[in-house]
Symmetry: C3
Subunit: 135 residues, 3 copies
């Protein structure tokens, strides 16, 4: 099975910089080749994004995300009180695609891979796949 | 041509669970291999997301999506009265990437593939591609 | 190195239609094959989306994007006054996946690839990768 999976223990909400873990998974999978890596969460109240891993901004992203979901009488909250977490997770997205050159993630200067938790604390699973380019 | 395409008849707005159709397309394309599947809409007022296919939440996502687009004098509405539908579609995104193991979609417990309609009713086309991992 | 990269000179904010450039990169990379193309920005205050390249709508998307980010005391603004640009960029996303058939981008009638600038003017880099389907 060519998927690397790692776990992240989260707090109630928060952004976690997983770039180092993703980089290690990509090295194991790519073995020096070029192509595209994919990072997935397997959850519906977390998101994955590429942005700057500055601690203030990471906090800003979580607060803004929670704040921008409209205050409404959500039907899902009669079942499970986390509709807002589902909604912001779908707005941000649950996977990212990342270029890989010669086995290494190729990110811009300020780019990091962030896991955003909106409904923790939980143990979250993140999967990484790599697809190689043809020669 | 290795793209599977299916159609979905939509209402004015709404979220449609297309996981079963996507799963079938992936089986046809992957033929037991592992890799990554991609699901695309070919439209600019629909979105594709991965989230929970709970009927209350699916309704919540549509209502929240429509509500969070700011009320403004949109220039596009002088041409075609659907700027808000375009904007929320770009916020959510028009494709998703999904892991595939041994020919089967590998989704989390609560994950489904949802097509979100913001400007129906219409007949919408969804495309599915599969890229296999190298051995 | 099988990544095509082009640059775009942006204004303060704005949406730029890069479909022609992406199409040319895909032709160079795909050489008649089918598969999936990926378009990446290497920045954290720009986004890439697929939507209609109508000039009014392109302006609407930028204005709506800026307006929907909540007005808050962002911690990142004590360092670098662009938290809002980071946040809207993560909401829209920094890459897209596009189907390719016989070496050509396969987009819907109204679909174009748009680079959205939220913190210019700058010279921005956009990367394009192509992964071919197995036969």
């Amino acid at each position: 099975m060519a998927m690397e999976v790692f776990t992240v223990n989260t707090e109630r909400t928060g952004a976690i910089d997983v770039t180092g873990k993703v980089r290690e998974c990509v090295r194991n999978l790519a073995k020096g080749r070029s192509g595209v890596a994919f990072v997935f969460t397997f959850h519906t109240t977390t998101a994955i994004t590429v942005n700057e891993a500055e601690s203030g901004l990471m906090d800003d992203m979580i607060r803004a995300g929670i704040s921008l979901v409209p205050k409404m009488d959500y039907r899902h909250n009669r079942i499970d009180n986390n509709a807002e977490a589902h909604i912001i997770s779908s707005l941000i997205g649950n996977s990212v695609a990342l270029p890989v050159e010669d086995g290494e993630l190729k990110l811009g200067t300020w780019q990091s891979v962030l896991l955003l938790e909106f409904d923790g604390p939980r143990t979250r699973k993140v999967g990484v796949k790599f697809l190689a380019e043809a020669d």
